[in-house]
Amino acid sequence: METKTKTTRANGNEVVTKITGAEALLRSLLAEDVETVFGYIGGAIMPVYDAMYNYQDRIKHVMVRHEQGAIHAAQGYARIKRKPGVCFTTSGPGATNLVTGLADAMLDSTPLVCITGQVAAGLLGTDAFQETDVVSVSMPITKWNYQVTSADEIPEAIAKAFFIANSGRPGPVLLDIAKNAQMEEMEYAYEQLTAVSSYVPRPKPAINSIEAAAELINTCERPLVLLGQGVAISGAEDEFRTFVEKAGLPVASTLLGLSSFPGNHSLYTGMLGMHGNYAPNVNTNQCDLLIAIGMRFDDRVTGNLATYAKQAKVIHIEIDPSEIDKNVKTDVAINADARQALELLIPMVKPNSHAEWLATFGELHKTEFEKVISRDIHPKDDKMRMGEVVNTLSEITNGEAIIVSDVGQHQMATARYYNYRKQNSWITSGGLGTMGFGIPAGMGVALAEPERPVFVIVGDGGFQMTLQELGTIAQYQLPVKIILMNNNFLGMVRQWQELFFESRYANTELVNPDFLKIAEGFGVPGKQLFDRNRLKEELQALMVLEGPFVLEVKVEKEGNIFPMIPAGGTVSEMRLD
């Protein structure tokens, strides 16, 4: 099929150009500055791919090996670019393969526009070949979704999709486009949207709540700021820093907040939550004021809500009103974009240092260092630990690389031991904890930010969930450096079995393939590392390498991640071993 541009004369003289819905889709994407699309072809999306044939010079299409790979790549791309990642799939199985990524993007507020092909409108509801009601399937895991059944709807649907995906609290949008709508002709005109009826993406901060917050900040003695991903999403990293420096506020980060504030800053006290740092968790139950910014009090952060920061007053700056008072009751809620709220707050807070209070974090950190950190980064035996690998990588890259992780022990080790110095440098699956996220997300990151080194840290379990994307990495020669932490176990689950199920290791030991042969088979070079003495050297070699690489590090099989707040435990009762 060929993309036709037909010129007809309406009303005898006016010239109207008609194009197919598929071409209208591509022109609409160009109007939204889309440069890269991740996708996989199939029957119901063929007209779009056919139209793409003429657009290859303007839109780069990355052909993945599985649609889950496409959507995770789009997520990595979106989070680095801070604009919607785009993917294309066919109907039925192509569309359902997006489900994990949609759920992940929904929980982690990642802007996506996913285009799925659908059977022709006339066949809808008839159980036609590869017909799946993906609009219903994706209802709870999309910010918005819509089925397009005629070509003229396409430009407006795309405009709406992009506006919704990347405003307010960002999220995934799915457009299901019936095949007839791709093929029909229509009169093309595009207008970017600046508003969608019924939708208030950026509520105006109420001045009285800003004043009330400033008053609490200016009179508190033991404040603690909880830094969430909302700060990065709103591009408020600089305002955030000005704010905490002016008022002398200790900062603790959520998993997704990492890299929005320098890891070596004197006000930085560490990561919150289950495997976070000792000081900020313990001091959560000592502070007199919690200032939560762009975070949602996830249960992995709070542990048992009944014993969470009961002594403290709570300020919550949050753009999504449904997150306010959902888990933790606030004293002052500021329903606004983080940057707007911080801009208003900064002039109203008084300079302070809270030096004595800050010192208590240092004391607690010393305890954590002696009991946990030192043995993670300088182990006494000859078995390598994930912590020392990440710590060495952090030193070698000066904390300035982009780090992407999969899910498990290595993820927590990476979050704990990489010392982020640069903004927008950490991509991981937080809310959904999706194994298999790392490698494809890393591809998207490498495409979004070709100038910076990209490392993917992955476990031997997660590696096997999306390893087919090594094919994509090889095809496009994406400079993704994969560090595979091989402990021959589904480590994080094995740790839980050890701690909470009497070491009954049911189905957590892995019978692994030869990972390097697999990589080699895909055309990706690799190496194994057993010996601590070569760690630095091998990581340095990765830094200067041009293309992709798999470095398989054999680590201690039964290493554990500490400290830890057992699920549903009290934050201040964090276990050090």
């Binding site: 801070r82 819509y146 600046t194 709103s234 999504d320 009103p321």
Partner: protein, 186 residues
């Protein structure tokens, strides 16, 4: 503490919105006691009335989660004393029940019910009221043999003074004020 709450939702008429609303209840394992929808006083704007039994904290979160869906203009929750509401019930009883004395007729009078249709085989009775009233009549008619029974979802109007039109004006104001603002992130 569980209590009965009436949630009122104002929506645009968009396909799939009902699904979006109901999944929010399903996720929380909340059972919808009744649901009604109709066009509101503003043309093109629809009003959903949903009754649930739950805690105030839950109904508050759920209402906010509903309100943030695209296509939903506003969502509120109210307790019984904050609304004026009705339900309608229909009862199909054998016509011969009327032949055996005055009992059924006096019941109908006592309950302010009315007869919609009388056929040789059956009679359909209608009663409008709160659930307790329609249920009470059900119990009283039961001995005569109820052939069919149905009760509608609750329809409710709120006592609050601020009407949806004034919220719509706020929205319009918001759009006007943010006209020159870039609301997307990149």
């Amino acid at each position: 503490m569980n209590k009965e709450y009436t949630i009122t939702i104002f929506t645009e008429n968009k396909i799939g919105l009902l699904h979006r609303i109901t999944v929010i209840f399903t996720r929380r394992h909340l059972s919808i006691a009744s649901l009604n929808t109709s066009e509101s006083e503003v043309r093109g704007i629809y009003r959903f009335t949903i009754v649930v039994n739950t805690t105030e904290a839950m109904v508050q979160t759920v209402t906010r989660q509903i309100e943030k869906q695209i296509g939903i203009l506003k969502a509120f929750y109210h307790t019984e004393d904050e609304i004026v509401y009705q339900e309608i019930a229909l009862y199909k009883v054998p016509t011969k029940a009327f032949a055996d004395g005055d009992d059924v007729e006096s019941l109908i009078r006592k309950y302010n019910a009315r007869i919609l249709t009388i056929e040789p085989e059956y009679t359909v009775v209608e009663k409008t009221g709160h659930k307790e009233d329609t249920q009470q009549l059900f119990r009283e008619l039961e001995p005569f043999g109820i052939l069919q029974f149905t009760r509608s979802g609750r329809v409710a109007l709120t006592k609050q003074i601020r009407e949806i039109t004034s919220y719509l004006k706020d929205l319009e104001q918001y759009y006007k004020e943010s006209e020159d603002e870039v609301l997307t992130y990149n």
